[in-house]
Amino acid sequence: MSNYFEVKNVDFKVADKTKVKNVSFSIENEGDIICLLGPSGIGKTTILRTIAGLEKIDEGSISLKNQILSSKKINIEPENRNVSLSFQDNSLFPHYTVEKNILLGAEKNKDSKNKKIKFNEVIDLLNIPTILNKYPHQISAGEAQRASLARSLITQPDLLLLDEPLSNVDQSFKEEIQVNLKKILNSLKITTIVVTHDSYEAFYLGSKCGIILNKELKQYDDPYKVYHFPNSVEVVNFLNRGILIPAEVTSPKSLENKDLGTITGNFIKPFPIGSKVKLLIQPEDLQHDDKSNLKFEVVDRKFRGTNFIYTLKTSTNHLIPVLVHSHHIHQHDIDEKFGIKRPIYIDHIVCF
């Protein structure tokens, strides 16, 4: 069965400058949401603009519902693709009210027989009823972003592209909107590509996540695998949720580290015994134990609401993160000793 949407071997360029090269990924089913994650300026927006038809390609192809939208020879104009892009910056028509802006979006596909999202529904979803009569210059950046999102949603496109859709939205609204957005996209089966630099947003919204680094799509997989089974050191560094420490493989199920001692678990990729590797330690891999005799010095403690992340300094000067539930009775201060439970077992061992 062919994919609903597919990007095949495309170099994404702006003004002849390649931003991301040789990219291939696909969305299997209508209604799927995928996220593209990467640092600022890496070319994520260029990918969306190209898919929308605002930039052209010289190599490969982009197809939607078995129709080629862009290739070296074919380029369907943006107005003739049923693709909607919600820009990161304010792109509302400045001389129309927010309401009129959104209603202009509703005019597109008004004859479509698909299940329709109602105007009021989208207004409530994005919490913008109070700004409908205002002009774009009279509202905040976050409100403009939500109004723009409303206009894109109401067009009910075959493919919705969201460029950092909630980057200007207040934290207090953000989670609520994320939940509602996901719900409505799923109920209307609107296939969506979200570009973001917020990994939590990407992991929540996307059924798949693509990591773009150093001009390449490094990994494209479901969020759980991206997080737990990163396929390169670059992805580990970008996600910044763990550290790499030196270790030696001692058996098909164990390895040895100078500070932590023996670590057992399941390798996600086999290494020959005796190999010197870099072992990924994520905050949730090690467990705290006050009674343990394996103790390290606390150099930092971050309170994250539901948990603490302690940073421990080993005798070889590596800084290891350890997650502890925030209700844990003994809170350790900086410079105190912090115990690690032994024996150490990591369910999936990631080494490079």
Binding site: R49, L54, E79, L85, F87, P94, H137, R151
Partner: protein
């Protein structure tokens, strides 16, 4: 590169506008008559010296008057400050040549000043006591009072848009008002002031009517004389080339300064209306006196002089074919405005959608028409038409095209369009610049074609800019003299040419009526635009 309707139209429009400008430059290498040799030996350095003296004098006065007035009305509140805010731009309604007529007529022997003194104190030998403002000094004053508003408008808008934080920072550092002015306010407004002064400089070098009236030999009158007296187009163009080199330096300065001037215009949320300082006592009187004297000298004085003559010599009012002059002027205004707006809209949109480098360069060149004096443009246009006529139409055995373009409304409108193209193009461009390109892209993604985006999204958005440009062009055309003088059809007069002809025949009283009407019509246009020129918020 995709060639579409918008791209092609923009290229064609830009080429039409650029052609006469290129003629001026290319003619530098053509042969000239003996006049060049004669002039080199005699008056050439006088032309250059006079042009420079005039330029320095005008820049000095316009800086003092423009920046001074802008500072006072932007930062202080005093009786009449709201009135002066807009009334000080009315001086635009008085072209330098009309100011020159007033100045000369008031102070001449047995002129208006003499009459006033005689009526007040009886007969006497007052002519010796009355100072004479003719020659270079009269010319400098005439141009300065007419053009200082360029500096005033740009400096004022810069003062208004200066970040409140910047001024508060000065206070926080313990600066006195004078130190704040020199260390914070003036440097921040420098690009705007330089832009204003560059415009003044370009207009001064292009000025023809007043220079001719005071018989000061400058490069501009040199060009006109080379053409009129010696019938030497090539040489006229050669002097133009020297003048243009100088003007282009000013043009570049102005453009660069304008770009820099943008840096302190803050976007949404960054603009705070400054609390003006309320003046009392002597300070309040001095501020009022400065603004009132400036308003009086720049606007009321020439207006009253023209009104006085019109009332004193009522026959001139009845002799003048008022309806005909009004219709001729309006005819030129409407025709030129329509063509200019149409061309500029297409060209701007073409630039916006095609993002083509060649088009961009052509557009930049085409807006330089404003920097080229009307005399030069008119002569370059005649040169171009003559070349086409001789080398193409006559060779092919076709009828001469000279009559179609030279001495016709068509030719006049074309040259107006070249001269004022930058006003229309930049006016619309500045409207476009406020519109993020993502707005266009959003429209495409909503299924709008380029044409539908243009007509449904852009045109309604640009309506204020279009209205502003329309009024600005009308104002310029009503005041315009040299192009109309050189290219107008036989027996086709405007208020400006009628005033000039009367004045050049030493019939200043007769020049008063058309001048008065010109001032009134121009004032009307200025009052219509003042809302845009002087807006104090970024709505």
């Amino acid at each position: 590169m995709k060639i579409n309707f918008w791209f092609l139209s923009s290229i064609i429009i830009s080429i039409i506008v650029v052609l006469p400008i290129l003629v001026v430059f290319s003619s530098f290498f053509q042969d000239t008559s003996n006049y060049f040799e004669i002039l080199k030996e005699t008056f050439f350095f006088e032309y250059v010296f006079n042009s420079l003296t005039l330029l320095i004098g005008v820049l000095f006065f316009t800086f003092i008057l423009g920046v001074g007035a802008a500072y006072i009305v932007s930062f202080y509140e005093f009786p009449g400050s709201n009135f002066f805010k807009w009334s000080l731009i009315l001086s635009f309604a008085v072209p330098p040549y009309i100011y020159a007529y007033s100045l000369f007529a008031f102070f001449e022997n047995y002129g208006t000043a003499y009459t006033i003194l005689k009526n007040l104190f009886g007969e006497g030998n007052y002519n010796q006591l009355i100072p004479k403002f003719d020659g270079m000094f009269g010319l400098i004053l005439s141009i300065s009072f007419s053009l200082y508003a360029y500096v005033y408008i740009l400096a004022r808008s810069s003062f208004l848009y200066q970040s409140q934080n910047l001024i508060e920072l000065g206070k926080n550092l313990g600066f006195s008002k004078i130190k704040s002015f020199y260390s914070v306010i003036l440097p921040a407004a420098r690009p705007a002031i330089v832009a204003g002064l560059s415009l003044v400089a370009m207009e001064t070098l292009a000025e023809f009517g007043a220079v001719d009236f005071f018989s000061v030999n400058t490069l501009t009158t040199g060009i006109y004389n080379a053409w009129i007296a010696f019938d030497d187009l090539a040489f006229a163009n050669r002097i133009s080339f020297f003048l243009l080199l100088f003007i282009f330096i000013l043009f570049l300065t102005e453009n660069l300064s304008r770009k820099k001037a943008k840096y302190h215009l803050e976007t949404r949320g960054g603009f705070k209306i400054k609390q003006k300082i309320k003046l009392n006592g002597v300070k309040s009187f001095l501020a009022f006196a400065f603004c009132f004297i400036l308003f009086f000298l720049s606007f009321l004085f020439p207006l009253s002089q023209m009104l006085y003559w019109t009332i004193k010599f009522p026959d001139n009012l009845f002799d003048l074919k008022l309806t005909e002059l009004l219709l001729n002027t309006l005819y030129l205004v409407f025709l030129s405005s329509f063509v200019l707006l149409f061309f500029s809209l297409i060209s701007n949109y073409g630039n916006r959608v095609s993002k083509n480098k060649i088009l961009n360069i052509l557009s930049t060149l085409s807006i330089s028409g404003y920097a080229i004096p009307g005399v030069i443009l008119a002569i370059a246009f005649i040169t171009l038409i003559a070349w086409f006529d001789e080398n193409m139409f006559q060779v092919l055995g076709l009828l001469s095209i000279k009559k179609i373009f030279i001495g016709s409304v068509l030719g006049l409108v074309i040259v107006y369009c070249i001269r004022f193209y930058s006003l229309a193009f930049n006016g619309i461009k500045s409207g476009y610049e406020k519109m993020n390109i993502a707005v266009d892209e959003s429209a495409y993604l909503l299924g709008y074609s380029k044409f539908k985006t243009f007509s449904y999204i852009h045109l309604p958005y640009l309506r204020n800019s279009l209205l502003f440009v329309l009024i600005l062009i009308s104002l310029e055309i009503v005041r315009e003299l040299p192009i109309t003088l050189i290219l107008r059809p036989f027996n086709f007069e405007t208020f400006a040419t009628t005033a000039y002809i009367s004045a050049s025949e030493d019939l200043l009283e007769a020049a008063a009526v058309p001048s008065l009407f010109l001032i009134v019509i121009a004032s009307f246009f200025i009052l219509l635009t003042s809302k845009y020129i002087l807006r104090e918020n970024n709505e």
